[in-house]
Amino acid sequence: MIAPMLREAWYAMRANRLRTFLTMLGMMIGVGAVVLMTAIGQGAQFVVDQSIASMGSNLFIVLSGSTTSGGVRTGSGAVPTLTMADAEAIAGLPAISAVAPNQPGTAQVVYGPNNWSTRVTGTTPSYLEVRDWSLSAGYPFTDSDVRFATRVALLGQTVVRNLFGDEDPVGKTIRIQQSPFVVVGVLAAKGQSLNGQDQDDTILIPITTAQRKVFGSQFPGTVRFIMAQATSPQSMPAAQQEMTQLLRQRHHIRAGADSDFDIRNLTAVANTAAETSRVMTLMLGAIASISLLVGGIGIMNIMLVSVTERTREIGIRVAIGARERDIRLQFLLEAIIISVSGCFIGVLIGVGGAVLANLVAQMAVVITGASILLAFLVAAGVGVFFGFYPANKAARLSPIEALRYQ
């Protein structure tokens, strides 16, 4: 049944080559636009997701809180209320898997004739775990380095490039704020953070070294902020509650009083960014779908013309025994063939356009089988939807009038 109908559909389409092509063109452009826009949207999403992954997962940042003195309120982190001991206590919580206290600063770094100003972060070895950061060379510093405040450093890729060029930095000695440090390892490249910062432009040193020998501190033993990683995404609310409770207790804060610290869920912030890019992908796809819709209307238009032109043929078919559903299927098949083959070429156009955008405009694009499959299904759906009315019109023609039609 289907095979001869397909053949007849092919004859009918071949008889009006230009018209068939133009109708398909509408679908090609529509599908091409959807595929291309989705590829670009998902590309942007991929970039965001990647920077989120580079930040580390299930991450909290615990900041020193604000204080009010004489009616003047200071911002978060202004008063160093968090200590190394707090960090160690947090590490003991069940919902927390790793904790890294942070003492960041900016310092001039010198190696031989080269010098470079960079972010220097004093922290503990678990920082690498929290940030999900690996080394590309050498070894990380250890807890004993933290205990004895040794002068060792891990360099980010950008720092390596600026100080060492092609030279291997492991084992070399650099100067941070005039003090000599041995480079024990090199951090793997991480790229840009969500707010566009170069994450590789950094040096990690033991936190004790940072406190005592590099930046000094008017409040010994305090840290600027603490990074804490929850054991899983599901345990994040529990982790937040446990930390709040623990710190309030440790800081002797009475019930009802404001906390002197601030816990921020970085993952939630990141998810918002991811959500934004997802919505953007959706928007691009939706706008492109409008051209798909227009393509569908083009199919409907041509099928209506075709039904009118072939009225007599329909009459003949009915006279020799075609049922309404046979006629309907015949015209529906034609509409689907046009939309699906238009879609096929449209996918090629869309993928080609995406590759071109990637090569010429350096845009991040992601083409997934799912998006192509979706475009195909939508196109077939458009064919059925917009082909149905004309096909139904054909099926309901009065055979007598159809046979009389010249």
């Binding site: 043929e313 009459g315 003949i316 078919r317 049922r323 007598i400």
Partner: protein, 240 residues
């Protein structure tokens, strides 16, 4: 009930609704056609014979009265059943041949078989046989516009025959053909009727064509005015 005729038409009425009110076309037509009959249907333009043929062919339904074909009351059948009757019981032959222009002769002849889901090999075989039968054996791959009118009408007859119908309705089948070709076509009909016992109802304006039939029914103004022998004098007032 006694042995029922192949076609029984009783008190058949048909009227068309127009803007100017209902226009009656058939008024109380009563007709019995036995199997194996060869009947010519004549009448001036507007006498209702085309409407009657459409009803016989299950393309149109009567407004009143009954039409029983092969024991089935056509007025009570659904659309799909009517299509089934057109496909398997009735074969149509039209004045304008009505072949599908884009399909070759074999596909044209095989078309009715597509609608009753006959497998491809069987379709090709039977359509080939039918083309053979009407003397166009080697033409299966030709296109309809490449052959003469007489040949096209023979293809149309082959198409009407391919599903082994019991009734052939021919609406002025020789209207577009010259005298010699008309005779060839009518000989095919006569042979089908005599040798295979296919009932044939033929609409024509030409006495020479009607003369092939064994029974003549004449319509005037929506009523049967003659039913019986094929008499020349009955046909004389016919407009060619």
């Amino acid at each position: 009930m006694a042995e029922q005729a192949f076609i029984v038409v009783e008190h058949l009425y048909k009227q068309y609704e127009t803007a100017a009110g209902p226009v009656p076309v058939l008024k109380d037509v009563n007709l019995r056609i036995e199997a194996r009959e060869f009947m010519a249907l004549m009448g001036p333009s507007g006498s209702g014979k085309s409407t009657f043929m459409n009803i016989l062919g299950c393309l149109d339904l009567p407004t009143g009265g009954s039409y029983v074909l092969n024991g089935q009351d056509v007025g009570k059948l659904g659309k799909d059943r009517l299509a089934h009757l057109r496909n398997e019981v009735i074969g149509f032959v039209f004045q304008g041949f009505n072949l599908l222009p884009r399909a070759n002769l074999l596909d044209n002849v095989a078309l009715p078989l597509v609608y009753c889901r006959v497998a491809k090999d069987e379709r090709v075989r039977r359509a080939g046989e039918m083309l053979e039968k009407v003397g166009l054996g080697g033409y299966g791959n030709s296109m309809p516009n490449r052959i003469s009118g007489g040949q096209q009408q023979r293809v149309a007859i082959a198409r009407a025959l391919v599903n082994r119908p019991r009734l052939i309705l021919a609406d002025e089948p020789t209207g577009n053909l010259d005298t010699k070709t008309s005779a060839e076509i009518m000989n095919i009909f006569a042979r089908l009727n005599a040798e295979e016992g296919i009932t044939i109802v033929l609409v024509t304006h030409e006495p020479d064509i009607a003369a092939y039939a064994k029974r003549l029914v004449r319509f005037v103004d929506g009523r049967v005015t003659h039913d019986g022998a094929v008499l020349r004098e009955v046909m004389m007032d016919e407009q060619p």
